[in-house]
């Protein structure tokens, strides 16, 4: 299946999937001008509307979306991985604990 992910700002190190996906799918990453600049094979399924890492990231790195920091990596992340609350925390308002209650 033809899976797309959108990078909103060219400084972003994550992109957002616009389809559901499964492990092994190829994801085409579009830059803000709508051009495919990267293809990644998924090492795990990523849901629609969720983020994929377009770089290798290590603990302490900033996650950049909209050209701004949206969180800090708390587990090393391989390029092509699912980015969410299991490997990223808020830089300003820690949500750990709060999330556990609702997930």
């Amino acid at each position: 299946m033809n899976i797309k992910a959108i990078q909103i700002d060219d400084r972003d190190n994550v992109a957002t999937l616009t389809n559901n996906s499964k492990k092994g799918d190829i994801v085409q990453v579009l830059n803000p001008s709508g051009v495919v600049f990267l293809e990644l094979q998924l090492i795990e399924p990523i849901p629609y509307g969720h983020k994929i890492s377009i770089k290798n990231l290590k603990v302490g790195d900033e996650i950049i979306k909209y050209g701004e920091t949206i969180g800090i990596v708390n587990k090393n992340i391989l390029k092509g991985s699912w980015i969410h609350t299991h490997n990223v925390g808020s830089a300003r308002m820690p949500t750990s604990g709060k999330e556990e209650g609702i997930l």
Binding site: K4, I6, I8, T16, T18, Q28, L30, P32, S33, G34, V35, V36, P47, Y48, G49, H50, K51, I63, K65, Y66, E68, T69, I70, G71, I83, H84, T85, V88, G89, S90, A91, R92, M93, P94, T95, K98, E99, I102, L103
Partner: protein
């Protein structure tokens, strides 16, 4: 410079519509006000539902709506025993030089006599404004309000970034943009403050957003909290959620905070991007921005909001392909073409910009065609604001 076709008012402001507005300062006189407006094409009635006390927030917002250049003339219809009198509203609007009349039901001798007289006044004005011809004006005369509601996973990646591109272009060409909903800015105050034109504006941005955090805290809501739906939908942190929301206002410098409280009701004093101290509740949020002078509104939605406004055209933009397909009656712009790479954010941004110009030159939005006349004034609890030390 891009131009639009509008109507010049006596105070120099430019309307994109030629509405006749019937204001009921209190809901006691709203029924006859609606009846009067219903008899004349282009006339619309508004009121507020917070009692008949002379509250400055109510006065500012009703007067602001009457002063909006989309309104050609104003008829104020009151009951007679209210503290928030027709005179207060009428005199403040008269200063702009536009035609204003008042009718007081208890003085006119009841509902029927008031309605008869009101319809006569509106019909006379209708003939006069039929003579007004739209003229071209540069878009530096345009104030755009942006709002989002019924957001979903597509809002932050398609509709909001595309509308942000349109806002940047409008500002670069000398126009003005307002966005509000400080509750949806929580977690991004440091980013917005960095975009402030000076230290004082940065301080105002922190104050406005932190006041809303304090209001949430007072009722036991932790502002760090995101709903299960937010997290299931792919939002990882509050910063990410709020960045998606504020993106609809674009990326330009912030000129200032437009306060909207008991002491102040600010309007943009120069072109550029402004934040309004408002509410996250869609209809009053739009109503307050229109009261501050916005002539046209862009509203992004994922799940499919349907609202409009009494005197301002509201352009609906959705990034959700299913919403666009199933709610064609309500949606003006399809931003979902971004999702499959068919269009870029910039392509849809340009399309939105062109729709803003076309709409400002008279083209009707879906909400206008459907006859939506939404208007609500939001009023915070003054007692709570005192307890929180905000006033």
């Amino acid at each position: 410079m891009t131009e639009f076709f509008g109507y010049k008012r006596p105070d120099g402001s430019i309307g994109v519509r030629n509405h006749l507005l019937v204001i009921a300062p209190i809901d006691c006189s709203f029924e006859p006000a609606k009846k009067i407006a219903s008899q004349v094409d282009g006339a619309v009635a508004i009121t507020q539902h917070h009692g008949c006390g002379n509250d400055p927030v109510l006065v500012h917002n009703l007067v602001g709506t009457g002063l909006n250049p989309n309104v050609a003339a104003v008829l104020v219809v009151g009951l007679g025993c209210e503290t928030l009198t027709s005179k207060i509203i009428a005199e403040a609007i008269q200063k702009s030089g536009k035609p204003v009349e008042t009718l007081v039901i208890q003085e006119e001798g009841g509902t029927l006599k008031t309605q008869k007289k009101g319809i006569k006044i509106l019909k006379k004005w209708k003939k006069e404004i039929a003579e007004y011809k739209p003229e071209p004006f540069p878009i530096c005369k345009l104030i755009l309000a942006v709002e989002c509601g019924g957001s979903d996973a597509t809002s932050g990646i398609a509709a909001n970034p595309a509308v942000g591109v349109a806002c940047d272009r409008l500002i670069d060409e000398g126009g003005t943009v307002i966005f509000s909903e400080p509750q949806e800015m929580i977690g991004t105050q440091h980013i917005l403050a960095r975009r402030a034109i000076n230290e004082l504006v940065a301080e105002d941005i922190y104050t406005m957003i932190e006041n809303d955090e304090a209001r949430l805290k007072a009722i036991g809501v932790d502002s760090r909290w995101m709903s299960k739906g937010n997290i299931d939908g792919g939002l990882t942190t509050i910063e990410e959620k709020s960045l998606g929301a504020i993106r609809k206002g674009g990326t330009r410098q912030i000129q200032g905070v437009l306060w909207n409280d008991w002491e102040r009701f600010d309007k943009p004093t120069r072109p550029g991007l402004w934040l309004q101290d408002g509410t996250g509740w869609d209809v009053p949020s739009v109503s307050h921005m229109v009261a501050a002078g916005a002539q046209v509104v862009v509203f992004t939605t994922g799940q499919g909001s349907t609202t409009g406004h009494a005197i301002a055209p509201v352009i609906k933009v959705t990034g959700n392909p299913h919403t666009y397909a199933s709610m064609r009656d309500n949606m003006d712009i399809n931003a979902s073409t971004i999702l499959n790479g068919g269009d870029s954010i910039f392509d849809v941004g340009d399309r939105t910009f062109n729709t803003i110009i076309k709409t400002s030159s008279g083209s009707k939005t879906k909400a206008e065609t459907l006859g939506y006349q939404d208007y609500i004034v939001f009023l915070r609890s003054r007692a709570a604001e005192h307890l929180l030390g905000h006033c």
